[in-house]
Symmetry: C2
Subunit: 102 residues, 2 copies
DNA sequence: GCGCAAATTTGCAACTTTTAATAATTATAC
DNA sequence: GTATAATTATTAAAAGTTGCAAATTTGCGC
């Protein structure tokens, strides 16, 4: 196999629109923190509230957004909701950007 | 060398804030398109206007934002401005997200 | 079943940010 | 000077954020 060129074709325009939608979700430090926390382990809303230091309602709203975007799922146990990340790879770009020291 | 664990430590909180700032810049389809175009080659403002199909003023505003974030640089030749990307790796997350079919 | 308490979500309102259009301005070439 | 390329300023509309209070859901004891 011959490696001819490293040119990467431009993505179709809709790809940028979709991509931008995801970035909009990621463009909030609290949501980023949630995703990075959930990357390691499932967490309850209660725990997230304590860890993030924002109101419960606010955490809930962020979680709803992430849920609707299918970035996290919730498992209900009694009164509590336990959230986990659907695909941990979603936070990879976060780390890449961090390594680019940006 | 032994691989003990794949646990990645949470980033410091400021990292998420910085990260979110970058995502805010990336969270716009036109800016994403600009960055992905510039990934391959330097382009003039004029060319960008034609390719993107939006007003020159609007292109200019997006470019100013990218410039201030030091994501692109400009080279002036006479009346024309030629833009290039500072670090092509900035668009990698874009492609990663795209491959995650998101 | 019913009522109560706890965990979570939702609705509302105030505020901030972002976007994109038009108009005005700057800078350079001729 | 005039024309052209690009930027900046000024808007108005749209979208996002957040806290409080109200509503919802669930579990538990009776």
């Amino acid at each position: 196999m011959k490696t001819v060129a490293k040119i990467k074709k431009p993505l179709p325009r809709v790809a940028y629109e979709k991509n931008a939608e995801i970035y909009k979700i990621l463009a909030n430090s609290k949501r980023l923190e949630i995703l990075n926390l959930l990357r390691e382990q499932e967490m309850s809303v209660e725990e997230l509230v304590k860890t993030l230091g924002i109101t419960k309602a606010n955490v809930s709203q962020h979680l709803a957004l992430l849920r609707h975007a299918r970035l996290v799922t919730v498992r209900r146990v009694g009164l509590n909701g336990f959230y986990k990340i659907v695909d941990p790879r979603i936070v990879e770009p976060c780390r890449i950007l961090h390594k680019l020291r940006m």
